[in-house]
């Protein structure tokens, strides 16, 4: 039996785009430091690392919400579990950081599995609000049981990734003459984790499990009739999704270097949902695009000031962000990924033809305007014969 495969060019473009989005910051800051403000380098590196971390959460949440149809407004809780596991194990027990990230993911995954069981009874907005409760409870729990979590003051984690990649560092130095600082190493760590998780997600959604998730989302009863155990796959989706959240939390600890109860407030969880809807539901590409969008868009009002003469009140940056959300939802209902796929479908020839039509109608409108201005007394008959380019075709 021949399997239908996605067009190789399409996938190539997708991955080129992924690479671009994840990579373009660091080379820019590294190669062209004089083009940009002094702080650009480290800050952009930090931002790129954050995008990688957000992409991991978005992937997990998209598996749960986009592919399996269960809404979660509480993924901040899983990220908090991963983040705190990494922070506590590293600071209080001196564990090496790769182990803490993976362990954070596993603990979050188990928690996700346990939460997935009661979640079986709830659907739609009821599940959404119940999980929102989880997000709300997280900072309170972290503050209250401060014996383990260090309470409101949070935990400072300084990860010296730089010192722990000896062989790799020497290799980069000897072969490419590249010396990365600690921030850049952390960025590569986040990027590596994100790539591993992307590949894993691509494989999950194309496997038997992924197809079961989608079948359940589209119709639980039909899926059941096909022999799919609905409860098993729904809790599995929760566990996988929470595992992603935990891994992202461990990455967060390395990237930001500080965890506190307020890092994981409920707005974070709501932002995760925003990320996947803006990026595109049930889309791996969408998760990554959404993550990039969410980190970058709040900065755009600041970029406006680079255009001479243009300015936007800085106090209104959040309103700008809100307006951007609304506009994306109105004009790209399937998110950035939907927009991307729509653009991919446009053939160059078609695009040229369309541009030609736009040009012609523009010229026509201009001519009409000029004509009506110049000969205001002329009748409608000669206008229609003269100004419509399509009439001659």
């Amino acid at each position: 039996m021949k399997r239908s495969r996605p067009r190789p060019t399409g996938r190539l473009v997708v991955f080129a785009l992924l690479a671009f989005f994840l990579f373009w910051w660091v080379p820019l800051s590294h190669v062209l430091p004089e083009w940009v403000p002094v702080s650009f380098g480290t800050y952009r590196t930090y931002q790129a690392s954050l995008i990688a971390m957000w992409a991991i959460v978005a992937l997990g949440l998209n598996i749960l919400t986009g592919y399996n149809g269960q809404i979660s407004l509480g993924h901040g809780a899983f990220v908090a579990v991963g983040g705190y596991t990494a922070a506590i194990l590293m600071v209080d027990y001196n564990w090496p950081f790769p182990v803490t990230i993976i362990l954070g993911g596993v603990i979050a995954g188990v928690l996700g599995f346990l939460i997935g069981i009661p979640a079986l009874r709830l659907t739609g907005p009821y599940l959404g609000i119940a999980t929102l409760g989880l997000a709300l409870a997280t900072p309170q729990i972290l503050k209250k049981y401060d014996g383990l979590t260090h309470g409101t003051q949070g935990i400072n984690v300084r990860t010296e990734v730089h010192d722990q990649v000896g062989v790799l560092r020497d290799f980069m130095h000897d072969v490419f003459h590249l010396d990365f600082n600690n921030d850049q190493w952390i960025y590569f760590l986040a990027l590596f984790t994100a790539v591993v998780m992307i590949v894993l997600a691509l494989n999950i959604v194309r496997s038997r499990i992924g197809r079961a998730f989608v079948a359940i989302r589209d119709s639980e009863i039909a899926a059941q009739a096909m022999g799919i155990s609905v409860s098993r796959y729904k809790t599995m989706a929760f566990a996988i999704s929470a595992f992603y959240g935990g891994i992202a939390g461990g990455t967060y600890t390395q990237v930001v270097g500080y965890v506190s109860p307020e890092s994981f407030n409920f707005l974070l969880s709501i932002n995760f949902l925003t990320t996947i809807v803006v990026g595109g539901l049930a889309s791996i590409l969408g998760s990554v695009l959404g993550a990039a969008g969410l980190v970058v868009v709040p900065e755009l009002p600041g970029l406006v000031s680079f255009i001479p003469g243009a300015s936007l009140p800085a106090e209104l940056s959040w309103a700008f962000y809100g307006a951007a959300l609304i506009l994306v939802m109105i004009f790209a209902p399937y998110g950035l990924a939907g927009l991307f796929h729509r653009m991919m479908r446009i053939r160059p020839a078609q695009l040229l033809r369309r541009l030609g039509t736009v040009y012609e109608s523009g010229v026509g409108a201009l001519r009409r305007a000029l004509a009506s201005q110049g000969q205001s007394g002329s009748g409608p008959e000669d206008r229609s014969s003269e100004d419509r380019p399509d009439a001659k075709r």
Partner: protein, 305 residues
Amino acid sequence: MDEFWQQMITGLATGSVYGLLALAIVLIYRSTNVLNFAQGEMAMFTTFVGWSIWQWSGNYWVMFPLVLLLAAALGAFIERVIIRPVEWAPTLNIIIVTLGLFAILNNVATWLWGGIPKGFPAPPEIHVVGIKFFGEGALDIGPTVISYHDLTILVFAVGIMAALYLFFQYTPIGLAIRATAQNPVASRLMGIRVGRMLTVGWSLSAAVGAVAGLLIAHLILLQPPMMMGVLLYAFAAAVLGGLDSPVGAIVGGLIIGVTENLVGTYTPQEWLGPDMKLTVTLMIMVLVLLVRPTGIFGRRTLRRV
């Protein structure tokens, strides 16, 4: 025992505010199946408008109806301009649109009025046949005292509930709104202007939310983030009562308000207590949902193959 009754009364009063906002949420959910995350910020915004009007006119009873009208206009505007273009989009998309609205309203309010908390007046006292209504002070009712403002809140909640009941039950437009919520396609075939009914629903909801904002602003100071906590409790209340039941919203609000107060007072301080009252309240909500997945008064959804 006094403390218990005191906590009950306070819980009922704050619970009424949660209930009112939950009612506003339910009004929108019933007709459009959308959780409106901007509901709290809409109420906050109109309360700020009320503050400005109060500063300008100095009269609470001029401000109050004016705010309700403006809130209704705001609700209608939001429905027509922002929600209408995504009317047929998936539910999650509309939720994201309301989140965008949340950001805009919150930010614009901070921009216009500043982030400094402002005192907000309580309704001034009125004497009708020698009985005092509204105003400051407290009323002695046997086991405990109840402050006049708490009483005002309770009265408003019950009054709005009754008014809405009459509106939905006995007016043609109320009937049309109910029909639209139940079956938009059939309603349109019967000649109901479905789009207009949705607009009216949003207006009503915004007005009810505005009352909640005006009443709570006296208890917690007027400031841009003031409705965020209230909104979360209101969501819990709406879900607890059942998202399609207006009665459920008020009952859910009262339950949440009372539970929150009792949990804060009567649970062990070392590992629960006031710091954890939100967590415990939400946990109780989830437990109730596990028994009744569509809330206490919610309609069971039948699944058809």
